[in-house]
Homo-oligomer: 296 residues x 2
């Protein structure tokens, strides 16, 4: 089969054997924003034409390809949901003279106790990919990123989740706020990061703590290099302060550049951390394809 992780800015394709082993992998800067005039079929075939010619007929895709801006919008599936519900609601799209068909994984939607919604798209497939590693019982998974996801998994099913705009907030503060004027990225400064994480636990709230970056910079207490790392710690610290379980392990799933920071901040908050295999998406796609076979 062909497994495709198709996001906003990147395209990743995998050719898998019948046991789910990755035979080949390809990556291209061909996210959905780079595809013009809805030519998704063309874009896909340009990347995997040789695999198709070799007879691969089963294609399963996840990520923003199933969003309103993607190939074909897939309605969100309600939580709680596991592999069974997601496989059952894979959408399909057909194209071309050869009658090609691809399946698209839907995202998930949940509501909190106050009735406010939350959504994710793409992460559901990564989560399906780590269900076996997690096993039965209740687990907390954190997927750091532009929009960080905190997910509760009970007995192989995604029960609920919450999103935090931490990564996007960092980017817009750096690029568009007054804080960016006294900030420079020269790489990791763990002491400054830790100071930001610690600040998040103090009273005053995020909107006030942010201005402290400015004031401490003006007062000569924060260099531009330190301010960059302090802001990162402050935002991650605020995220963690509202969601991290007081006891229990947080399973981190994501790129090392981010999970390293989250691991540090979580440890400071007294949480045990377990790193998950970041290649979970391809395993999730394989698992959902297997469910599709059962469904048909």
């Amino acid at each position: 089969m062909i497994a495709v992780d198709w996001g906003t800015t990147s395209f990743r394709a995998y050719r898998l054997d019948a046991a789910g082993i990755v035979l080949k992998r390809r990556e291209a800067p061909l996210g959905i924003l780079a595809v013009k005039e809805g030519r998704f079929a063309e874009a896909l075939e340009s990347q995997v034409s040789d695999w198709l010619e070799h007879g691969e007929a089963l294609i399963v895709m996840s990520g923003m390809i199933g969003s309103r801006q993607g190939w074909k919008e897939q309605a969100y599936v309600r939580c709680p949901a596991g592999a069974f519900e997601l496989s059952a609601q894979l959408g399909s799209i057909t194209w071309g003279m050869h009658g090609r068909r691809a399946w698209i994984v839907p995202g998930l939607i949940t509501r909190d106790a106050q009735g406010v919604h939350d959504v994710l798209r793409g992460e559901e497939t990564q989560l399906i990919g780590v269900l076996d590693a997690l096993g039965t019982g209740s687990h907390t998974v954190c997927l750091p990123g532009t929009h960080s996801k905190w997910v509760r998994i009970d007995d192989h099913r995604i029960v609920s989740f919450s999103t935090h705009m931490t990564g996007e907030m960092f980017a817009i503060l750096r690029d568009h706020s007054i804080l960016g004027r006294t900030m420079e990225n020269t790489g990791d400064i763990p002491a400054a990061f830790d100071a930001g994480v610690a600040r998040a636990r103090e009273p005053g709230g995020l909107l006030h703590h942010l201005f402290g970056v400015r004031a401490d910079s003006l007062a000569g207490m924060l260099t531009p290099e330190a301010a960059h790392e302090y802001l990162s710690g402050l935002l991650i610290g605020h995220e963690i302060a509202t969601v991290a379980p007081e006891r229990g392990t947080v399973h981190l799933l994501g790129a090392a550049s981010l999970t390293t920071r989250y691991e540090r901040a979580l440890s400071a908050a007294g949480c045990a951390v377990q790193l998950m295999d970041p290649d979970a998406a391809v395993r999730g796609l394989f698992r959902l394809a297997a469910g599709l076979a059962q469904r048909n």
Copy 2:
């Protein structure tokens, strides 16, 4: 005397009589960012040359004109401070063949219990302008804005304050984040604003609540018009949740467009609100000039 409130984007000048009564007022879009190559003397004289010719010799200015980007940087004065300390530390600048001189009000700096700094510049003069109206005792003053200030005043002295990046946060989220894509400003929608204020009191934290604006928009629960007002209420609600005193009156000082929103949010939080005369800056400049006369 001539009182000048000279900010980042605006210039306001007042001619006052010996009792502090405003005889004339002028306003121009001549904030410090609009003054090229440090030609502040020229800019000032272009606005008040006739008053100078009529013999006014005492000029006192407040606002960003005393910042690093202004005419002459004035070091921050440490809290607690009242009219006496600020008058004593007015800086002066002289220019031209006629030996003209102007005084510049310094800003204030404070540190919280954790040693983190906070600063303000311009608001100190507005606060001096409302000291008489407040009288003795302990008071909470809120000046809403790009950087909202919450100030504690005890017996005519500014004891401490905290800044919240609420207004700037609203602007960068609207203009540069994913939330701006599903948001449109069509004016006040009180029910949506109130819903945002109420959301701020629920668990989850600001970074999570912000994503809820996106998710509820995708779920069809928030129109673009309502999302704009909901976000405003959410941010103001988060600010208030961390600073508003549980009991006691909050004195609001600022433009009606903002104080109306804060009054609504504060009332929802159970706070009594007292609106202050928004023209406080000119009164503060007069009061500080009087202190200057005593100093000389």
